[in-house]
């Protein structure tokens, strides 16, 4: 599957099937800090992903003086 990461934008290819939670752990990302999006739908941490999936892992944090933005 293809995983699109943001800030900075980059793509990584990941082989095999696993749950979203496992994928995020491998990528070193805490589940509560990102939205995981597939086919314009949000996925919860127990969802299975893999194969031809294209996932966007979108960070939710804003900061600096932009907090509240």
């Amino acid at each position: 599957m293809k995983v699109i990461l943001r800030n900075p934008r980059r793509e990584v290819d990941v082989e095999g099937k696993r749950r979203v939670k496992e994928l995020l752990t491998e990528l070193g990302i805490l589940p509560s800090t990102v939205l995981v999006i597939r086919d314009n739908e949000l996925l919860t941490s127990d969802a299975m992903v893999g194969g031809d999936d294209v996932l966007e892992v979108r960070p939710v944090m804003s900061g600096g003086a932009g907090a509240g933005a």
């Binding site: 509560s32 939205l35 941490s45 127990d46 600096g64």
Partner: protein, 301 residues
């Protein structure tokens, strides 16, 4: 994972509530939390005109969306910070949002007020970018609301923002900042408008999910100056705690608001004056914004 309310496929898990919701029921949950915040802190009424400070980010546009959908009378305020393509893109997002919903969007250019865009202010003053930016935003929000006749400014600060700010204040024991940390700050002077934070009960994950599910086109990229900001470091520390113990941020912030803030509020006794330069409210003779603008003028001329 199943929705707590209908048993359908969940879109979002809320570990601190030990719950998960499908899209429609999450949107319902989100709106109820905003309504609860407005009601509990008497933030504004349906008869009042509300100025919503928007940046093009998820929080402020989610807030504006909720208020419009709930029938409140609103207008947006966009502060153009002059931060290269980031400001151009975020301004375009706000303009598109307002146009699609038939809402008024006021635009203020920071460069006109302070004498230079934020990147130049940072270079000229050598003070942390977020500090000068935050100061300018607070000043211009109040000034714009007064000029246009809005009694209240609503900002998109969420639970994570508020917990991180509290963490920073406690880390340095900024006891003067603690009484001012509140979901609603009343007007304490005729030239100070009320400031409210209707999203303070909702996490950053929740505001992002709401914006996504509502199809709001927001700017995902970070402000280029936010990298390395102290507030980001504090958020990362709290994210670790939250992951280990869901509800930590909520308990930290709400415990402070209910148990500790009243004690700090009692001892605060600040005398307010009007700035001799611009007429806005300050605790000294000249306000911090005018001092900043003067410094920028001297260093860039």
């Amino acid at each position: 994972m199943k929705c707590r309310k209908c048993g359908g496929t969940a879109s979002l898990e809320l570990r601190r509530h030990n719950a998960a919701f499908c899209s429609p029921h999450f949107i319902e949950f989100f709106r109820k939390q905003v309504a609860e915040a407005i009601h509990r802190h008497h933030m504004f009424t349906r008869e009042e005109q509300i100025m919503v400070a928007v940046s093009g980010g998820k929080d402020s546009l989610a807030l504006w969306d909720v208020l419009i959908e709930d029938g409140y009378q609103t207008a947006g305020l966009y502060l153009d910070l002059g931060i290269f393509d980031y400001s151009k893109e975020s301004k375009a997002k706000c303009e598109a949002f307002a146009a699609a919903r038939g809402q008024t969007l006021h635009i203020e250019r920071v460069a006109e007020a302070v004498g230079a865009p934020i990147p130049v202010v940072q270079q000229a003053t050598r003070r942390p970018t977020c500090s000068a930016c935050g100061l300018s935003k607070r000043y211009l929000m109040n000034r714009a609301a007064l000029q246009h006749g809005y009694p209240v400014v609503a900002t998109g600060h969420n639970l994570d923002d508020e917990a991180a700010t509290l963490f920073g204040s406690v880390m340095h024991w900024q006891t003067d900042a603690l009484p001012r940390q509140s979901p609603a700050l009343a007007s304490t002077h005729p030239k100070l408008v009320r400031r409210v934070k209707p999203l303070y009960r909702l996490s950053e994950l929740e505001t992002a999910a709401f914006a996504f599910l509502r199809g709001i086109d927001y700017i995902v990229e970070e402000c280029p100056f936010a990298k390395g900001a102290t507030s980001i470091a504090h958020k990362q520390v709290l994210d670790r705690l939250e992951d280990e113990s869901p509800g930590s941020k909520h308990n930290f912030l709400f415990g402070f608001l209910e148990k500790a803030r009243p004690a700090f509020e009692k001892v605060e006794n600040v005398e307010l004056h009007e700035c001799t330069s611009c007429g806005q409210v300050t605790t000294g003779a000249i306000c911090a914004f005018c001092k900043l603008a003067d410094l920028v003028k001297r260093r860039t001329s």
